[in-house]
Subunit: 184 residues, 2 copies
């Protein structure tokens, strides 16, 4: 199993005009990405937002499916949503993993745009085989803020299909990227 963590960032991300914003948490992001994370053996799935009401909302959703009526109704959903942790920032996510693993994770930023120094899926897959913790970072809204991408240890190539259309949902992108990096 990979030593892999995943973060879904809600601040700092950009809106369609490129302004840095804090986005709202989307219920189906939690469900879809938690289910994909569980499928691909991700250890923890972090929802990072600095908005305290959004942290409360996220905890309420998780609670419904892990302790509430949803847990009985759908145990498979429970085991996925149990992977979710809330954190106030990406820095807090990195500190949490550092404390848990005894080493800082290598961070891997994802973006729909191609960066000149982007790393290929094949190369990243091979690097992640070293057993050390890696943190895959996804942005909501129109994607991670440029500064957050630049600060990552690696920037992953965008997912290209077989067209020039590069507007996948973050739920689709996270699923495909997990499959490419750690699928059997």
């Amino acid at each position: 199993m990979p030593n892999l963590y995943l973060a879904l960032v809600h601040y700092p991300v950009v809106n369609k005009n490129g302004d840095v914003i804090a986005s709202a948490v989307t219920n189906l992001d939690l469900h879809d990405i938690a289910r994909a994370a569980k499928t691909y053996g991700v250890k923890e799935f972090f929802v990072a937002t600095r908005l305290t009401d959004q942290i409360e909302l996220t905890k309420r959703i998780i609670g419904h499916w892990t302790n509430g009526a949803g847990a009985d109704y759908n145990p498979a959903r429970r085991s996925a949503l149990e992977l979710i942790r809330t954190k106030a920032s990406l820095e807090d996510v990195v500190s949490h993993i550092d404390a848990q693993e005894g080493v800082r994770p290598r961070t891997v930023a994802t973006c729909a745009r191609k960066f000149a120094d982007a790393i290929s899926y094949q190369r990243m897959r091979s690097l992640m085989n070293n057993g050390k913790p890696h943190l895959l970072v996804f942005g909501t809204a129109w994607g991670l803020a440029e500064e957050t991408i630049r600060q990552a240890d690696y920037i992953l190539e965008p997912v290209t299909g077989n067209s020039d259309y590069n507007h996948l949902s973050v739920r689709s992108a996270a699923s495909i990227i997990l499959d490419r990096l750690v699928g059997r």
Copy 2:
């Protein structure tokens, strides 16, 4: 580009108890799967439901993003949602493609369970290279009814990650399967 079509079936599908039901259309299924379909060069994306109110709802959502306020707000979303067609049944989808292509499409059913005669991704990918139309079929709710799966020309292997957890959302599964079958 592949000669590929995609159908999202809302009847006949099964609920958690295995009963055959008609499921409700989910807004985010339309958006996520249309965006993935556009990314991977799918020609048309069919929403199949026998419920007329659900067909109306689907058309209203598509209209908002292709002719309404959403078309101006987000042209990239428009070009994805323009791929969506509504049909009353999977048979109607097949007839539509038959009329358009002059040949019936080969149908490829997807399922989270493994069938003894399931076809591998590698083999399916190679078969789809013949230029003839293929129709990828996905089920909502707890998946396609057994009879629908059995009637397909091919049953695709389930998506396995690297765990025994097989509860991906249909949005995630469709994205991963498109990437495996027709990604560059």
